[in-house]
């Protein structure tokens, strides 16, 4: 299994990003119901691993940080979820 995606928050982030072109930091925090600090730490690990891309910009003079899933992240997610499902299937 993918070590990085064993964390529920990181798995949630990747699942959230799966069907989206990008999601803003604040929206991810709201959707996953985690604190900004906690989410920031998890996102850093995903960015460092190349699973997620970070893009910082200013919109109407306000900072906007948004995240996008990479191909590597998508592959890791698919493989990890398949392994979770096979674990559950073998347990049943």
């Amino acid at each position: 299994m993918d070590e990085l995606l064993l964390s529920k928050v990181r798995l949630g982030v990747v699942a959230e990003l799966l069907n989206f072109d990008w999601i803003a930091f604040s929206e991810l925090a709201r959707s996953l119901e985690v604190s900004n600090g906690n989410l920031g730490a998890h996102l850093s690990k995903l960015v460092d691993a190349g699973y997620v891309e970070e893009e910082k910009s200013f919109v109407n003079r306000r900072p906007l940080t948004r995240y996008r899933l990479t191909g590597r992240g998508r592959d890791a997610f698919t493989s990890h979820v398949a392994q979770l499902q096979s674990l559950l299937a073998s347990a049943n």
């Binding site: 299994m1 529920k8 798995l11 699942a15 959230e16 919109v59 674990l87």
Partner: protein, 192 residues
């Protein structure tokens, strides 16, 4: 290798399924753009038809670039204003914008660079086709109003082919107004 128990794995899978179920592929169209461009394109088409039939002086055609510029300015202003409030953008949304810009871009090229081929009412018909493609693409993703609006534009295109030539521009303009602009009104009312 496995550092996760079955109950935790089940919990993770349930979370993933819930997130994926909630992230349904919705296409946000922005009714105001369709309303403004529906009115703008219908105005231009009908004005050309009126001028062609000798009902308005040729000088009235100077309003065409002004109207198109106003539509473009509105689109730029509105997209900037809404961009700040946008928290997420779906892959489907990105695909929609690709289709939108490709269609409008090709229609513009046909009008600007192939004006000898697409002269007169053919030029308006190119825009009708572009509008129908955009509406039917939205309709393909489950928007019933867009399906009806797209069919209306196509029907206006076919009808324009069979009416008396001086009326063809009016029919195309009506299709743009009712189809494209009407879809915009429908989206705005649905949002309320």
């Amino acid at each position: 290798m496995e550092r996760i128990g079955t109950s935790e794995a089940r919990d993770h899978i349930e979370m993933v399924n819930r997130i994926l179920a909630e992230s349904q592929q919705r296409l946000c169209t922005g009714g105001e753009y369709f309303l403004v461009w529906g009115i703008g394109s219908a105005f231009v088409t009908i004005l050309f038809a009126l001028e062609n039939n000798g009902l308005v002086p040729g000088a009235a055609l100077w309003s065409v670039p002004v109207v198109l510029a106003l539509c473009a300015l509105f689109s730029i202003y509105r997209s900037r204003a809404t961009r700040a409030a946008l928290a997420r953008s779906s892959l489907l949304q990105r695909e929609f914008f690709n289709v939108l810009w490709l269609t409008i871009g090709l229609a513009f090229v046909a009008n600007a660079a192939a004006y000898r081929i697409f002269a007169g009412v053919a030029s308006a018909a190119v825009w009708s086709i572009a509008e129908a493609i955009v509406l039917l693409y939205i309709g393909m993703h489950g928007n019933r109003r867009a399906q009806i609006a797209g069919v209306l534009v196509v029907v206006s295109l076919i009808a324009a082919n069979f009416v008396a030539p001086p009326l063809a521009g009016y029919v195309l303009g009506a299709g743009m107004l009712v189809g494209y602009g009407g879809f915009g009104v429908g989206e705005l009312l649905a949002r309320e």
